[in-house]
Symmetry: C2
Subunit: 333 residues, 2 copies
């Protein structure tokens, strides 16, 4: 039976083009019905031009406005009552769809989901998670990357339980290793938050492996890594900045000699493979955990492939019944 | 007139080989006299074999023990009274040398420098700084990357003043832009620490540009970036982990097809250039700012080139009289 997924058609930097194309790709490849939310006069012509008469389960849900990347999250959520984001999240809350995906303003998406869905019983604060690539090819799940700052030990404990369940049920990692992001492996290393959190994590029914460091995020030493959202956001954006620098320097270096130009040409296939393995779009976006509903946030630069994968991940998240598992774990059932 | 620099001969992972070779390179290229501290029976034969009879101002200062990478910093500093690190730092305190370089245990180096040198007047806590590469080629100075955790706003303010002076006097950046590492550009973005620190930074006689994000570290939007040592250490190690992953994936991808093998061969020159631009060894290590003396800490994996550059940076740091500038600024002169 197909699963219904709502997509904010006006989220990404190039909306609605990637959203429409991603929805079509997903409808073709997965057992999903995709609902694109946005102004009908904008989305309809794009959808029609790409469908080219094909019959696919891709539908349009009207919304008169949308939140931009430069909108302030809090005020946009309050003032834009009929935004594509809000209409989409409401469809999920009302049971008309199983999950929501947006490549739009992350802050607004988190605020909307928190407000419209509410929190899961036993969870105090939501956490935004991201998936990082590793040397072994297995995903590395880092949370929180920006839903909260100034977390308390109890928040990190809840993140650990939620992340552990998500990694097991959606990422398919049996008995996921959970690490606490710190600045040394020994228990004594870290700041006040990590030192207070460490003993609490040891008492949870998870596979806790102790403190891990920034470099462990990429070397398959940990499956799920928890941290405060300020720390996680700084780490994530630093890594994104470094990755951008690597690519630029590599491109420049390859261009700098004629021999290299030939080399670069011949290496193109290898670079394609390399890029794919690092590529954000393969992972399909960041789940927001802790809210009473399924919400996946993609990168603003998402292409059609990233949107397609975001829809896939939303469907997997919904089908795995992660949220009822989380509530059961939080409330000791 | 040559300047005297002390080098911990037993610091790096492959000590004393890189230290001895780096000292010889430095003595050849710069106007320095290098004092290698370590057990004479270990260092002497290596020095003799590399000097091959040349007359160069490289000397050995005896020390009977040394601190390893796996030693706990605090206890090693207390128990190993005649370590190469301690003997070296003491030489600087006693005025027998202008600066100290080690590629050894960072925690032990910081603890030793703090204990033996003491703090500069007006500075409450030292900060370890690192230099990151940027797209424009200009250095990006990030501090603190691990000397302290749970910093107070006053600490970050002192870091900003110290970093600003170092960037101007040693890195040669006129009127360096100082940013506060946060999770959004707006003043309201950040955690309790950054929000409390922001207005204080605005009142300092520095070129403060407001909040910056992780990705700004690499895109030449900021010259000096201040943060708490836990946050900076996590960011730095995350970036190191990502860089390692990036190189591994690239190597694998290039090996995966015959065409790529040819391409890789031809691209070798370009990769050499690329690696050099990213290479830690070109930057010569991380200064520890705030202590009453010159201390540069290099990476454990430092090669001879990195050691040579570390010696150069220690000499530049000492000659620029950064510490008296910092004391003057801190005490309103």
């Amino acid at each position: 039976m197909p699963i219904d997924i709502v997509v904010d058609a006006m989220g990404s930097d190039k909306a609605p083009e990637p959203e429409v194309r991603g929805a079509i790709l997903a409808a073709r490849q997965f057992d999903v019905r995709v609902h694109l939310v946005g102004p009908e006069d904008i989305v309809r012509p794009v959808l029609r031009s790409h469908l080219k008469g094909q019959k696919l389960p891709v539908f349009i849900v009207p919304a008169t406005e949308w939140i931009t990347m430069t909108d302030k999250a809090a005020s946009a959520v309050r003032s834009k009552r009929d935004s594509s984001m809000r209409v989409g999240v409401k469809m999920v809350r009302e049971g008309r769809a199983a999950g929501f995906f947006t490549a739009g303003n992350t802050g607004a998406a988190m605020a909307t989901a928190k407000m419209v869905f509410g929190m899961l019983a036993g969870v105090d604060r939501p956490a935004l998670a991201t998936i990082l690539p590793t040397i072994s090819g297995s995903p590395s799940f880092l949370m929180d990357v920006g839903a909260n700052v100034d977390s308390e030990p109890e928040n990190l404990c809840q993140f650990a339980v939620m992340g552990s369940i998500y990694a097991r049920d959606v990422l398919g990692i049996a008995n996921p290793r959970v690490g606490l992001l710190s600045i040394g492996e020994e228990d004594s290393k870290g700041n006040a938050l990590t030192r207070d959190t460490l003993p609490l994590l040891r008492n949870l029914p998870i596979n806790f492996i102790g403190n891990v460091e920034g470099r462990d995020l990429f070397n398959n030493n940990t499956d799920v890594t928890v941290c405060d959202g300020f720390v996680g956001n700084v780490a994530l954006k630093s890594v994104e900045g470094a990755a951008h620098l690597f690519r630029s320097l590599l491109r420049e270096s390859l261009k700098s000699t004629v021999t290299s130009q030939v080399g670069a040409l011949l290496s193109r296939q290898a670079f394609g493979d390399f890029k794919k393995r690092l590529d954000y779009s393969e992972y399909g976006g960041a789940p927001l955990l802790g809210v009473r509903g399924v919400c996946i946030v993609g990168h603003g630069s998402s292409n059609d492939r990233a949107i397609m994968n975001g829809i896939r991940v939303a469907a997997e998240f919904a089908q795995a019944k992660v949220n009822s598992e989380i509530e059961a774990a939080m409330n000791g059932h």
